[in-house]
């Protein structure tokens, strides 16, 4: 997520509304063992014996892209409800059981998928599998639980958007960049949509999307694939195949002209975001776009940092991100947390200058090689954590790229040339293809009472 350094002391139920990942890919270390069960569920097992731990993850191909106007936030709401109990493991027991067994569990929802994970000691993998198999189709939706949990989700929305000026800007940017495609609305949904949701909506969503044929099970860690597979079959194969929901969506129409908007909020510093409509992993251009992102933004020697933070000093933080692993074409976006002493116009101009530079001059051989080295090194570092390793596989599978594509990615990256960078910069980073959002800080309202009243009470 874009947010800079400030500490947040909250329990992370979702790892950010947008899960944007680096371009890490794997072509070394343990090879995934891939299986397909008779009910259509795909299974990936990766043996990593270095520590007696493992991560168990179930990824469902359902996210905010599978929602409709008026019910935005349904997938995320359902994710919350997935912890509320089945017949076998009643409400409250899921996380308790995992924790009692020394594990950590959580889940996250994005535009494209919903994923559940348990990080456990290697000898508890069976337990995690049993629990996930049970709630895949055994979830009991209770109205009382829903009413309470809906309030929790609203608090989450307040935390991430209502009271977070940058979060609010990101939300508005997507709404402007995508008019008819479901990437228009935030993963967490709107208050009105949350209030309009019913238990029937949740049940229908669950019945439609939570099926073995719409899921991928991934286990990475100190396991033996051929020993674990029978257990997995025993637990998951009895689950009947479910519907095969249509996953193809109508494309967002072409953008034919720049979109700009202002967001006025009480805030300390301005924030600028620019999003460009780009293709996803399925395009031949994705490799060059990925290298472009590195050249612009990876490390302190990158273009944006050197120009805007180091030399011009107009930004406190700056970056570019490319949503490579998305089901549908997403955005290539730039962001800047503006230095309080600088003007927003200066930052916009500076960003535009960097884009023009890359359009007009090829990057140096050094920069190109550096970017490729960074991609290759990242893919090794990714494997240091079972969790991140599994996340990358899960995301690749869930957006339709397939885990092998991640493997092939590095090979193709090596072939990207300087001219390719110029070409994609010219093709996609154009004014007509961009949406610009600017957070304009407004002065704080004068408070009606003493702003910081310190009262020392009697004990």
């Amino acid at each position: 997520m874009i947010r800079q350094s400030s500490k947040r002391y909250w329990f992370t139920r979702i790892l950010g509304a947008l899960l944007v990942f680096g371009p890490a890919s794997l072509s070394m270390g343990a090879e995934p063992n891939e299986y397909q069960l008779s009910n259509g569920m795909k299974v990936l097992l990766i043996e990593v014996p270095k520590a007696p731990v493992a991560t168990v993850q179930v990824w469902y191909r359902v996210g905010s892209r599978n929602e409709v106007m008026g019910r935005a936030g349904l997938s995320h709401m359902l994710e919350h409800m997935m912890f509320k109990g089945t017949a076998k493991y009643p409400k409250g027991s899921f996380s308790r059981i995992v924790r009692k067994n020394g594990g950590i569990d959580n889940a996250f929802t994005s535009q494209d998928f919903t994923a559940y994970f348990e990080n456990v000691a290697a000898d508890r993998v069976g337990l995690a599998l049993e629990l996930e198999a049970d709630r895949m189709q055994g979830l009991l939706l209770d109205n009382g639980e829903f009413q309470t949990e809906r309030e929790v989700v609203k608090e989450e929305r307040r935390l991430r958007s209502e009271d977070d000026p940058q979060g609010a800007l990101v939300e508005a940017l997507f709404a402007q960049a995508f008019l008819s495609h479901p990437y228009h609305w935030p993963v967490i949904g709107w208050f009105a949509d949350l209030d309009a949701m019913s238990l029937e909506d949740l049940q229908r969503h669950y019945d439609t999307f939570y099926s073995p044929n719409n899921a991928t099970l991934i286990v990475v860690g100190d396991i033996k694939a051929d020993a674990l597979l029978p257990t997995i079959k025993h637990l998951f194969e009895p689950i009947p195949r479910g519907p095969s929901p249509k996953q193809a969506l109508p494309q967002e129409p072409d953008q034919r002209g720049e979109r700009r908007f202002i967001l006025k909020r009480e805030a300390q510093v301005p924030f600028v975001m620019m999003g460009f409509r780009v293709p996803n992993y399925s395009s031949e251009d994705s490799y060059a776009l990925d290298i472009l992102e590195s050249i612009l933004s990876h490390g302190k020697s990158s273009r944006l940092y050197q120009s805007l933070v180091y030399e011009q000093k107009n930004s406190l933080a700056v970056g570019a991100e490319y949503s490579l692993l998305q089901t549908d074409p997403g955005l290539f976006y730039f962001y800047s947390l503006v230095n309080p002493g600088a003007k927003v116009e200066a930052v916009e101009d500076a960003l535009q200058r960097e884009i023009v530079r890359l359009q007009n001059e090829p990057p140096s051989d050094l920069e190109l090689q550096r970017a490729k080295n960074q991609v290759e090194a990242s893919r090794v570092f990714e494997q240091d954590s079972n969790f991140r390793h599994a996340m990358l596989m899960g995301q690749a599978e869930s957006v339709g790229a397939g885990w092998r594509r991640v493997d092939q990615f590095v090979e193709r990256i090596r072939a990207v040339g300087a001219k390719d960078i110029q070409r994609v910069a010219k093709q996609y980073l154009t004014q007509d293809n961009r949406t610009v959002g600017i957070l304009v800080p407004t002065p704080s309202k004068p408070p009606e009472s003493n702003p910081t009243a310190v009262n020392e009470g009697k004990s």
Binding site: F11, A51, G92, S95, L127, Y305, P340
Partner: protein, 439 residues
């Protein structure tokens, strides 16, 4: 392939035997640097992690932010490499290099693929031993930190904790934010930075931890080559600071136009080396750090739907840190949430926790221990801290035993001793006018 479903309450002792296999090689160099090496050959990566025993707690009075400035400037130029050159060299190999100051210590680390291990050592040694502190970088970085401080005021959580620390720590150095304040930063001079560095950055003040695809022999040679000529110096004296005390309830309300109130409630806590640390860990887990198994989560989020995030925490540092409970709730339910928090603080002091709560808390803490050590980065950090706090390397085999020994009576005792629902600091950031806080 068998597995165990722990339906029974008291029999869930999980195996962490393999965590006990963590036995680093430890030695002290002639110039006083403590070196820890742990071989991990599964992936060709290396983490070189230096812990310098100086942090913001050692900032000169009135100049909070010096330690952080020093750390931020280490990689902004050395005797032989400019800021840009350092960045280019580490970026070219896809590695990372950086430093970060905390309250008690500063960490500086290099992370590279195995094939670039020499470069990692060269660069880390260079920034630690020969930082140049160029004036223009000093001005730029200081200005940047000032900007970040301003920006942090957009985060109500940050605003709340800053105010909370001032109330809880009063005159103790933990009162100050690690990155300083606008006022103190403007007073800091380049000389302050240079003096702090000269006084604190000595090999005998450093714990160097090397984890990854390197042998003990290779690591030892690299340490000798790159850090061998670093001159030892007189270790700075640390004066004993009186721990902070709160003797009455103190409330601070900060007005901000928000839809939620951010609430922080707490008081002084314990240090890492307090012998009650393990009992407090178990108690705190039950109170509010156990996720959905904790009382605070269960009551305030799950049953009442008042909050998305709520947790309790003991910041157990070199000197006693703070204890806090932190949550966010919509403006209208501010009072209800605070009442809920105080009720839980009282309840855990008034009656022993249940056998089930105790068993499950212990089971989690013991069983999840290996998860804290499941990457080279985590291993490096944990090893460095075990050394810093003098916990001993039998820590890895002993941790589960120390947790296992905690009884219901221990939990009750530490709850009474280290939780105080009468004398505390309460900070609320939000629409105070509308919240009508009556606590």
């Amino acid at each position: 392939m068998g597995w165990v479903l722990c339906a029974a309450l008291l029999t869930c002792v999980t195996t962490t035997g393999l965590a006990a296999d963590i036995s680093p090689t430890r030695f002290v160099t002639p110039n006083g640097m403590t070196v820890l090496v742990l071989e991990q050959h599964f992936l060709p990566i290396v983490e070189i992690h230096a812990l310098i025993k100086a942090g913001s707690a050692q900032d000169p009075p009135d100049k909070a932010g010096v330690a952080n400035l020093v750390a931020s400037l280490l990689d902004e130029g050395t005797g032989t490499r400019s800021s840009k050159q350092l960045a280019e060299q580490i970026d070219f190999v896809g590695g990372s290099l950086g430093a970060q100051a905390g309250e008690d210590f500063t960490t500086a680390s290099a992370r590279t693929l195995k094939k670039d291990i020499d470069l990692g050592f060269i660069l880390l040694a260079d920034i630690l031993q020969h930082p140049a502190f160029p004036k223009q970088e000093f001005e730029r970085v200081r200005s940047q930190i000032l900007g970040e401080i301003v920006s942090d005021n957009d985060d109500p959580g940050h605003v709340a904790i800053k105010a909370f620390n001032q109330l809880v720590f009063q005159n103790h150095p933990y009162r100050w934010p690690v990155n300083g304040t606008e006022e103190t930063l403007n007073k800091i001079t380049l000389a302050d930075v240079q003096n702090f560095y000269a006084k604190e950055y000595l090999p005998n003040q450093v714990i160097l931890t090397i984890v990854g695809d390197v042998t003990v022999e290779q690591a030892t040679a690299l340490v000798q080559t790159h850090f061998g000529s670093w001159k030892k110096g007189p270790g700075p004296t640390r004066s004993v600071r009186k721990p902070a005390v709160i003797d009455k309830k103190t409330v601070q309300l900060i007005e901000k136009d928000l839809t939620q109130s951010t609430i922080v409630l707490g008081h002084p806590g314990i240090s890492r080396t307090n012998p009650d640390f393990y009992a407090v860990t178990v108690m705190n887990h039950i109170l509010g750090a156990g996720g959905f198994s904790s009382r605070l989560m269960d009551s305030i989020r799950d049953k009442q739907g008042l909050a998305y995030g709520i947790m309790s925490h003991y910041d157990a540092r070199a000197m006693p840190g703070s204890f806090w409970i932190n949550l966010q709730t919509r403006t209208e339910t501010t009072n209800q949430a605070i009442s809920g928090v105080l009720a839980e603080m009282k309840a855990i002091r008034e009656a022993p926790v249940s056998d089930q709560e105790l068993a499950e808390a212990k089971s989690f803490l013991m069983g999840s221990f290996p998860l804290r050590l499941d990457s080279t980065a985590k291993l490096a950090q944990v090893l460095a801290q075990v050394e810093f706090f003098g916990l001993g390397f039998d820590y890895f085999s002993q941790y589960t035993k120390w947790i296992e020994r905690v009884t219901k009576e221990d939990v009750l005792r530490v709850a009474k001793q280290y939780l105080d629902p009468q004398h505390y600091a309460l900070v609320v950031v939000g629409n105070i006018t509308k919240a009508k806080v009556r606590h």
